[in-house]
Structures are given as C-alpha cells and as structure tokens.
C-alpha cells in the first residue's frame, strides 16, 4: 500500500489554490457567491410547498432528508478526507432502530425518536471510527473506505437474514411520528419540519467548520503531515468528525424511516452508500451547499427522467458522474464558486492577528 499510504488527498487538494496576494485581493473584492446561493436556496425551499403539487411536496421532503444525509457524507469526505463508503450504515441503523422503537415499544414522539436516532448514529460511527482510525498504525484511506464499505455490507446481510428485522422485506407500516398529540403525516407540515431541521444542522455544521476545530480540519485536509507535526492528534480529529457525521446521518435515517413509513435493507447497504457519494461528488464536496445542490439536482433529474427513460437513466447518471469526476473534480458548485471562497476564511479575528504578527 506504499503508493497510497501517505500523501493521499481528497480532490480539493489536487487543485492548487489561488494563493498569490494579487489573486486573493481580487477574490476578496468580488461579491461573495456562497451566502447569496445559500439564501436563494433557502427562500426557494421555503416557498416550494406553496407552489408545488402535493405529491411533489412529498417527494421534495424526501429530497430534503437525503440532503441532510448528503451533508453528513460531505463532512467526512469533503472536510476530513475520509472516504466513507458505508455512510448508509448509520443512516439505516438509526432508521431500523426508530422503526423498532415505534413498532415494539410504541414510542413515536419526535422528542424521543430523533435524539435516539442521532445517538445511535453517533455511537455506531464513534465505535467504527475508533476501530478503523485509531491504533498504532495510521490507517490508509483505502483501508478506511474498505472498512466502512464492509460495515455497510455486513449490516445489509445481517438485516436480510434476520427474521426479527423483517428479512428482505424490512419493517413495513411504521406508525407515524408524533409531536405531542399531533401525528406527522407526509405533506407540507412534514416538509417544513424537515426543512427546519436541515437548516439548523446546516448552520451548526457551518459554525463548527468555521471554528478552531474547523480550522484544524482544514489544515488536515490541506496537509495532514504538517498538522500532525504541529502536535494535533490527526486520527482523533478524524474520529470526532466521523462521529458527528454519524449523528447527522442517524437523524436523517430516523426522519426517512418515519417519512417513508417503512425501512428496508437497501437503507443499510451499499446502494444507499453509493447514492450519497454520487450526490456529494456531483454537487461539489468541500462545501456544505454543494452537497445540498448535488442531492437536489440528482434527485430532481431522476424524478423527471426516470418516468420517461427508466431503463437508461442509471446509465446517464453514471456517465454524468464520470464526466464530473474527470472534468470538474470539485463538482458543479465550482462553476460558480471560486477556490478562495470555497476554502473560506476562519473567524473575523484571524486577519488582524495575521497582520499583527511580525
């Protein structure tokens, strides 16, 4: 594994950043694209149910939940350079767990099931990260991706074989989620609930990535060895972000389970894991909004195209993905977003401090 042991970088590093002062000032002078994009999408998402027909709103709710899931993958791949090919493990595990809570214990309150789902995702991710990342030998990226993929595959197989979990068919007809005495059924209400959760988690992630912790992560992504020389425990940082992403995936999984009303093995397995990789690569890893845009575009396209071109749609998707990877390694977002803004700046104080230093 000598060629992949060290010096592996996610795509963001392959492209050299525009670092010269001239370029930097030119970018700083330009209007920021990212906040405008985020705001525009938020407005579009908020008014969507008012103009869309009901069945499309239901579909849009599902897309929002998948956006949340994509966000969790973007955190680990786009920001920490961990290629998790088993992200659906946390998504599906939380989904199955809340389905069981609801089926066997009659617990359906949103204040119980969402925290439970997140906690399960968090713990599962923490354990897996502890095993895969920590230890005497630093793990290669290939090993971590293989390990996560195996985790998802194993969970899929076990769920398929388990009578308690419903085998091939999964767990059908989960009772609806409740807030107080109100039952959440699919429709605009559920849509706005998911949107609120998505915005909240988006903002929290944004805050996290712009904090000192995010700064260390950015350093990790740019040059892992140098960050290690500075005394950061690189593998611990990775494990923490992995666990956080697991919690987000768990939240998404529990929402998904209640929205669809059933859980089945594909939620756990390789199918869902690769789906989320598609979303994030498509939209652009390394920006939070890229994950959202990617999910919306891929799911939107598949909604319109799969009706008319059901057979060739997966092939088109594969070709599009290949083209994006080959020619736009930073995803579609890089069409409108400059390199400098993508990397971002960290806190208002950083610039002054840097200038003050001799």
């Amino acid at each position: 594994m000598s060629s992949t042991g060290t010096g592996i970088r996610p795509p963001p590093q392959v492209i050299g950043a525009a670092r010269s002062p001239v370029m930097a000032s030119a970018f700083a002078a330009r209007t920021k694209v990212l906040p405008i994009l985020e705001l525009a999408l938020l407005i579009a998402a908020s008014i969507a149910p008012l103009v869309l027909r009901d069945y499309i709103t239901v579909y849009a709710t599902r897309v929002l939940i998948l956006c949340l899931f994509a966000l969790s993958f973007d955190l680990v791949w786009g920001y920490a350079g961990i290629l998790s090919l088993g992200q659906s493990l946390f998504f599906g595990m939380a989904g199955y767990a809340v389905a069981l809570l609801s089926r066997d214990f009659g617990v359906g309150s949103i204040f119980a099931v969402l925290p439970a789902g997140s906690l399960i995702g968090f713990i599962a991710a923490l354990l897996l990260a502890g095993f895969l990342l920590l230890g005497r030998h630093p793990s290669s990226v290939v090993f971590v991706s293989l390990g996560t993929m195996t985790g998802a595959y194993a969970a899929d197989r076990l769920a398929r074989g388990s009578h308690y979990l419903g085998g091939q068919n999964g767990i059908p007809s989960i009772p609806p989620m409740t807030i107080g005495s109100h039952e959440m059924s699919e429709g605009p209400g559920f849509y706005y609930l998911v949107l609120a959760i998505l915005v909240l988690i988006y903002l929290l992630s944004r805050f996290l990535l712009r904090s000192q912790f995010g700064l260390a992560l950015a350093g990790l992504r740019e040059n892992e060895q140098r960050i290690a020389f500075f005394g950061y425990k690189v593998q611990h940082l990775k494990a923490i972000i992995f666990a956080i992403s697991g919690a987000i995936a768990g939240t998404a999984g529990s929402l998904y389970a209640f929205h669809e009303g059933f859980v089945w093995t594909n939620m756990l397995g390789v199918v869902m894991s690769t789906q989320v990789v598609l979303y994030v690569l498509f939209g652009g890893s390394g920006t939070l909004i890229g994950a959202v845009i990617g999910t919306a575009i891929v799911e939107g396209l598949s909604f319109w195209l799969s009706d008319n071109y059901r057979d060739i749609w997966p092939i088109i998707l594969g070709v599009l993905l290949l083209l994006v990877i080959m020619f736009r390694p930073l995803g579609l977002i890089s069409l409108v977003l400059g390199e400098r803004e993508r990397v971002g700046h960290f806190g208002p104080g950083v610039k002054e401090k840097r200038n003050a230093a001799p």
């Binding site: 594994m1 000598s2 060629s3 992949t4 592996i8 970088r9 996610p10 795509p11 392959v14 290629l83 095993f131 895969l132 230890g135 030998h137 793990s139 290669s140 990226v141 290939v142 090993f143 991706s145 293989l146 390990g147 993929m149 195996t150 595959y153 194993a154 197989r157 076990l158 398929r160 074989g161 390789v270 690769t274 990789v277 690569l281 057979d311 060739i312 997966p314 092939i315 998707l317 594969g318 070709v319 993905l321 290949l322 990877i325 080959m326 390694p329």
Partner: protein, 287 residues
C-alpha cells in the same frame, strides 16, 4: 470421510474462483497502485459476452475464449480514455472506476432486462471416484485457475515484457529514461487485468448464472482478499484470495451462511487492521 473429501473439493473449487477473480484486481492494484472498482463489472461483462455468444447459437467455449479478448480490449480503451487521468490521485481513481462500473452494470442490467440468465456448462456431468461424484466443470475451473496463475506469474517474472512492467512500477521516471513507454505498459497491464476478470466471468457464469449484480458480489470479496494478501507483490493477492476463498467456502459448513459471510469480512478487516502490510509484504514478483 466422504463428506470431508466433498467439502475439500467444494472449498478448493470456490477458492479457485475467488483467486481467478482477484488475480486481475491484484495485478492492477499491485502494478499500478490503483484500486479498480470496475473490476467486478469486468467479471460481469465477461459473463455477458459468454452468454451473448451462447444465445446466438455458437458453442459456449467459443464465448469463453471471446470474453477475455473483448473485455481486455475494452479495458485497453477505457485506460486510454479515462483511467489514465487518475494515476496521480488513487482515491479519485476509486471514484472514477466506480462510475465506470456503474455504467457497465446498468448497461448490462438494461440488456438482460434484469433477469437471471443461465449458460450451460460446456463440459457437463461429473467424475466418479469410488462412490464420490465431483462436478467436472468445477474441476476444470480449478485446473484453468492454476494454469492462468502460472502463466501470469511467468509472464511477469521471466519475460522481458514483465521486466518492463516491473520497471515501470518500481521507478516510472527511470523506466521512461531507459526508453520504456510507461504509458503503453500501463495500458497493457490494465487491459491484462481486465482480460483476466473477463475470463473469470466467462468461466463462472455456468455456476452462478448471469445477473446484473454478479460483479458486486465479488468486488468486496476481491478487495478484502487483495488487502489481506498485501498489495505490491504477485503472491500477495493470490495468497489473500486463497485464504478468503477457503474461509468463504468452509465457514458455511459450520454456521449459518449469513453469519459466515459477515464473519469472513469482519475477521479479514481485523486482520488488515493488525497487519496493514498484509500476508506478503514487499514489492516485486518473486518475493
């Protein structure tokens, strides 16, 4: 005693299948440093070519000869067009080849209509020794695997082409300076790995029948085997494949197949964690 012999034969023949599938993957990973996620789909494509030849009424062995040629050619073209761009970034290579695999898999799914299609064994029947019966075709797979393994090893270890491949692996700059066209060598190596996968697909399609997800079944197994064996040598992936193949065939005799399937992978991952360099560490063909 009889069951033991039957079990041994089953384990041997399944181990041979895994070795055959993994060999191409291992050669590409070891010689070029990228993990080819489309390898499972090359296996699928080999199976499909065999089915295609069979369905137009030509004899099955002809399809089995055509499969490695067709898949190898495709591998050559894909390397030139796509894979070539990814050598600098092994992780992007995984994603890119994954996209390739997705395209091939979905294309085959469209072509087969999502059905399970069967191809008859070219040599059917069984060999009877005493009161034991062995499926002849599985025996043939074992023999062909051994031949292919020996031929691949000889090609890489003893021919001047093998020397060039190893030189390009060891030090691409120096190889280029010595007048070796490393680009061409990489193309041929990739095509060779793809052809081996195609051959594997052709040989196993009578056993497993043809369906679109045939490749995925072997992909994870192949990766785990390569990592267990160790990347960088010829013997590594073969050793890893033998171990994984043996366990995959042996454990279901002891416990339920689902648990056995999962257990093999979990044990393998733990092994790789404890010994990242794999069973056979080091580079080169003879080591």
């Amino acid at each position: 005693m009889d069951t033991l012999l039957i079990a041994t034969f089953e384990i041997l023949s399944f181990g041979a299948i895994v070795v055959l599938v993994v060999l191409g993957l291992g050669i590409i990973a070891s010689m070029m440093g990228i993990f080819n996620f489309a390898q499972g789909e090359f296996v699928l494509l080999g199976a499909y070519v065999t089915y295609l030849v069979h369905s137009v009424g030509l004899p099955v062995p002809l399809g089995m000869l055509a499969a490695p040629v067709a898949v190898g050619t495709l591998g050559f073209v894909l390397e030139k067009l796509v894979v070539r761009r990814f050598y600098a970034a092994p992780i992007v290579a995984m994603l890119g080849t994954y996209a390739l695999g997705l395209i091939i898999r979905e294309a085959v799914r469209g072509l087969t209509g999502g059905l399970y299609l069967s191809v008859p064994e070219p040599i059917s029947g069984s060999i009877t020794i005493g009161n034991l019966h062995f499926a002849t075709w599985r025996g043939v797979i074992v023999i062909i695997t051994l031949l292919v393994m020996a031929a691949s090893h000889a090609l890489l270890a003893y021919t001047s082409f093998g020397l060039r491949v190893r030189a390009s692996l060891e030090n691409p700059q120096l190889a280029r300076a010595s007048g070796i066209s490393t680009g061409l060598i990489y193309s041929i190596t990739f095509a060779f790995g793809a052809a081996l996968a195609g051959l594997a697909g052709a040989l196993i399609v009578p056993v497993f029948s043809l369906f679109a997800d045939l490749g995925i079944r072997f992909l994870i197994q192949g990766f785990v085997a390569v990592m267990v064996g160790g990347v960088g040598s010829f013997a590594g992936p073969v050793a890893g494949a033998s171990v994984i193949g043996t366990f995959s065939a042996w454990l279901p005799w002891l416990m339920s197949p689902v648990i056995a399937d999962v257990l093999v992978f979990v044990l393998a991952i733990i092994f790789i964690k404890l010994r990242p360099q794999g069973l056979v560490s080091g580079r080169g063909v003879n080591r």
